[in-house]
Amino acid sequence: MNPIDIANQAAARANEALTLAEQARRLAEAAAPVAAAAEPFLLLLTIFLLACFVGYHVVWNVTPALHSPLMGVTNAISSVIVVGAVLATGLSDSIAAKIFGFLAVTLASVNIFGGFMVTRRMLAMFKKKGS
């Protein structure tokens, strides 16, 4: 076999490899958006389910006498939704988003302050009595 043939064959193989690589690239490109969309969602879903389990176990340990304060605290912390409102108000240029953000911040703040304060009042009553 002369060197030219070998060179030609090598070139042909190289071309094939290139075609394969190109195909692989196209496939990867086609799959990317799906994976990109699914991955963060799956991650968030995992976090969500794990948090449900944590919540389940923690709440069963709450003593029944403190179920009212529990509602007070959960009510206050569910207002963490304020984070979404702050992002909308601060990051956006849209007037509509700013207005909705402001309304949401105001409502959630009533809850945050009111919820924690009323829980504090309740819990202050559960102090061990000296007598």
Partner: protein, 469 residues
């Protein structure tokens, strides 16, 4: 603040929230738990405000909202009477629901802020999550408004029922699903607001058929919804903290609803279908006329004071009637006097006594009753057998022995406090009316029961006066 730092701050806040709930496992650690919650919330808000790209104008708006809302919330929390706690909590739930609606709207009109697309071109997955957060938020809002109105007496506590109600709700539910699908496909703002409106209507219709006595379940359920709404918004904007917190709150509310339902031996479906406990509900079972029964024995506060003075062991059973009459303080005074006479006092609390989970415990704590004297049903039920006196104050259905024996009774199977086993039962009550379940209490006709007719506070005050003599 860089992205990683704010994510880290959110993680710290999530852990602090978990610790806040954990603190409530014991009254001693509970105040620290509440503090953890406050610190967590502060970290979350500050970390968000320090994110890169926050406009100064936006920050001013946020601070203004915080100041206005914070002032209103603080004033409300300081002024509210502990007997009105259930209304306050219902009102607060409605605010979370409405806030979720507004955040969903903000995300819809400014998707760039959350990296979920551009206006009119939001990712399909985000639209699904957005419509979930929106719908649950809106249902939470209108449902809580009704619960508030019922609890606050602005609206009759009796169920509102009409023909085809469940069909209508099912149809509206199906329509909501169709709207959500159409919204995800088209992303149209009209559909966004239609979903909001329909969900408001649905929340309203779901709560009106539920009677006043089932409010502990409703309040817990709406608590749960407010959590799921927050989680839905968290998925929409891809925020870990909202998802974790929403899951915690959702799980907590669901567990409380379950405990309340178990306390009434009813399924959550049965409660939600409503219609239970009408003011005009048919009293007593058919044929169970009162004619063949022993007559009701009514006593005076002086008689009660005399008997209790000589009792060794007294169990006090508070119910919603005590809250209505604001009698918790005077009950504690009575208990103090009886303790001086050498009696052993304890309090027995049924899981569904009052209008929200743990309501009675808070009222007794407010009146300075030491919490180690207050017991749950399972702990204390066996002790009624050797108690000299059971002092039932405004608790009716939860003490009705018919729940154990009468299969035809609406409350059959409900776990009750075995007050009838005590040597003497004093039953403080305004009149002979039946409880919320519309069932007559056969306890009234037992030979060892003495009725003390009158306002709970006045009757107890008169007992206190006789004891002081």
């Amino acid at each position: 603040m860089a992205q990683t730092l704010s994510t880290l701050a959110y993680l710290v806040a999530s852990v602090l929230f978990i610790l806040a709930l954990r603190g409530l496992s014991n009254p001693e650690t509970s105040r620290q738990g509440n503090l953890f919650g406050m610190v967590g919330m502060a970290i979350a808000i500050v970390a968000t405000l320090l994110k890169p790209g926050m406009g100064a104008g936006g920050i001013v708006i946020v601070l203004a909202g915080l100041a206005i809302g914070g002032t209103i919330g603080t004033v409300l929390a300081q002024r509210i009477q502990m007997t009105s706690l259930p209304q306050l909590v219902a009102a607060f739930h409605s605010l979370v629901g409405m806030a979720a609606v507004f955040v969903a709207a903000a995300a819809f009109y400014s998707p760039e802020s959350f990296g979920i697309g551009t206006v009119g071109n939001i990712k399909g997955a985000s639209l699904v999550e957005m419509s979930l957060g929106l719908a649950i938020g809106a249902i939470t809002f209108s449902g809580s408004v009704i619960a508030f109105a019922k609890l606050d007496g602005r609206m009759s506590g009796s169920p509102i029922i009409f023909k085809g109600q469940h069909m209508l709700n099912a149809a509206l539910g199906a329509l909501l699903l169709v709207l959500v699908i159409a919204f995800v496909i088209t992303g149209s703002p009209v559909l966004f607001w239609l979903i909001a409106l329909l969900s408001f209507a649905l929340g309203f219709l779901l709560i009106i058929p539920i009677g006043g006595a089932d409010m502990p379940v409703v309040v817990s359920m709406l608590n749960s919804y407010s959590g799921w709404a927050a989680a839905g918004i968290g998925f929409t904007i891809g925020n870990l903290l909202l998802i974790v917190t929403g899951a915690l709150v959702g799980a907590s509310g669901a567990i409380l609803s379950y405990i309340m339902c178990k306390g009434m031996n009813r399924s959550i479906i049965n409660v939600l279908l409503g219609g239970f406990g009408g003011d005009s509900g048919a009293a007593a079972g058919p044929g169970a006329g009162t004619a063949d029964r022993a007559p009701v024995k009514a006593g005076s506060p002086e008689d009660a004071a005399y008997i209790m003075k000589n009792a060794q062991k007294i169990i006090i059973v508070p119910g919603y009637g005590m809250a209505v009459a604001q009698a918790q303080q005077v009950v504690r005074e009575m208990a103090d006097l009886l303790k001086k006479e050498g009696a052993e006092i304890s309090y027995a609390i049924h899981p569904v006594a009052g209008r929200m989970p743990g309501h009675m415990n808070v009222l007794l704590a407010e009146a300075n009753v030491p919490y180690d004297e207050v017991h749950e049903l399972e702990e204390i039920n066996a002790e009624f057998a050797d108690a000299d006196v059971a002092y039932v104050i405004g608790a009716n259905d939860v003490t009705n022995p018919a729940a154990k024996t009468d299969k035809s009774s609406a409350i059959y199977g409900m776990p009750i406090l075995d007050v009838e086993r005590a040597k003497t039962v004093f039953f403080v009550k305004r009149g002979m009316a039946s409880g919320y379940a519309g069932v007559e209490n056969e306890l009234f006709f037992r030979p060892n029961t003495m009725m003390l007719f009158g306002d709970a506070k006045k009757v107890t005050q008169q007992i206190v006066q006789s004891l002081q003599k």
